[in-house]
Symmetry: none
DNA sequence: CACGGTTGTGTTCGTTGTGTTCGCGCTCGC
DNA sequence: GCGAGCGCGAACACAACGAACACAACCGTG
């Protein structure tokens, strides 16, 4: 799939520039434009659509000079725009979050944020699009659930009890350095820990959506291996 | 918190009744009305809002007599209705799912479904509302993530013992991607497992009504093959 | 119409790797 | 030092698959 075209909607010039440059730094994403107001944004969306290069994703600030972001959101929904929306705003009000979710914001990013956080959100959205692209034309419930699951953020738990940051780093490193899938035993071997420990971390990564589980049959009869791969 | 008022939007009378009775059976949820068309739904939403008892949740079918559910969705977004929406529909088209998500559908339930599945989805939504109610007026990023994360669909009904979800997915995928019927051996080949394993899963799918058994005679003398096909 | 041949089904049982429990060592606060 | 708690791994129960085998259905032949 081609790059994701992103429209940045943000009234403050400095922040707008910052967001745009952040977008450019994330592979697979490209800035389609910057809008300084709700009116600008609506125009930009219409123009992009008419030009045949519709905006895929909107980074939407809530506090705009000519109306609330929620209003813009409702407007573009009514106009039938197809883009997804990530709220990027300083609005910490629970009610705003609730309404944004109700209006179909796929992710909600609170200002201020680090580039790492920003990147994480974009990458999560990218993962969602990848799943979507990989899904067959006709889906079943399970696949819908996985699709939505890939979109919802996984609360970044500091580290669940029973896990050490050192081991976690070692495991992720081992997993990333491998080209294909790795079984729990192989990771254990690479890291130097026991299979049990390696599995604990791998399973955690998989639950967080950072690793993918696969299955390897028929290596030598018996129960199949589960293979973990980084993504 | 009071009960969640639910509007059922469904054109087929039988299904509408069924959904409504399902809603009533889940604690914490109450039917606010049944609408048989997009027009009805819009009216019901307006009426409920004007009466001071706005609808909290809409169970939305996509195939309506007077327009697509997606259109209704865009309309009520434009009208600024605050309700959340769970798609309850037979529309298995990936594009529809994608658009529904873009329009802010919080969950997507494919017909037909069991009461257990239905209940699971409603309860998940209830969990989301509970998180929302428990959240402070002002949130931080982590809390927003948790909030959205509670909308992340949970695993569906557990498989019978002796089966792994990964293999199940592989088998269903292989079966669906084939145009015609597939024998157990062919599925085994496609998946990479043994015929025995493939058969286990195919037989389970057939028992669940998700696959159809057929017979293929005279390929080359001998016993006829059973062919499984997706539906 | 019995009978053997041929091809694929259905099941049993052993193999292999998973997932979990429980206790041990290590580090840290006191 | 000396409990407290945390992270780890040996051991174990069992889950999931595949080789092998006995049987089933169809077909051609005498």
């Amino acid at each position: 799939m081609s790059e994701v075209r992103v429209l940045v909607v943000e009234d403050e010039a400095l922040a707008a520039e910052a967001h745009a440059s952040y977008v450019d730094r994330v592979p697979g994403f490209a800035v389609a434009g910057i809008a300084r107001s709700a009116r600008d944004a609506a125009r930009a969306l219409d123009a992009a659509r008419d030009a045949g290069t519709p905006v895929d994703l909107v980074l939407l600030d809530m506090n705009l000079p000519d109306g609330h972001g929620l209003g813009l959101l409702a407007g573009l929904r009514g106009a039938g725009h197809l883009c997804d929306v990530i709220a990027v705003t300083a609005a910490r009000d629970t009610q705003v979050v609730r309404q944004a979710v109700g209006q179909g914001v796929v992710l909600y990013l609170l200002k201020p944020f680090t580039f790492a956080t920003f990147r994480a959100k974009l990458e999560q959205y990218a993962a969602y699009r990848a799943e979507l692209a990989a899904a067959p034309a006709e889906v079943v419930q399970d696949e819908v659930d996985r699709l939505l699951g890939s979109l919802r953020p996984t609360a970044t738990v500091p580290l669940p009890k029973g896990m050490s940051p050192e081991t976690m780093r070692a495991v992720t490193a081992a997993l990333r350095d491998a080209d294909g899938e790795l079984s729990a035993s192989e990771v254990a071997d690479a890291v130097g820990s026991s299979r049990v420990t390696a599995r604990r971390y791998l399973e955690h990564l998989a639950d967080q959506g950072l690793a993918a589980r696969g299955l390897r049959y028929g290596a030598s009869g018996g129960r199949p291996e589960v293979g973990y791969s980084w993504r």
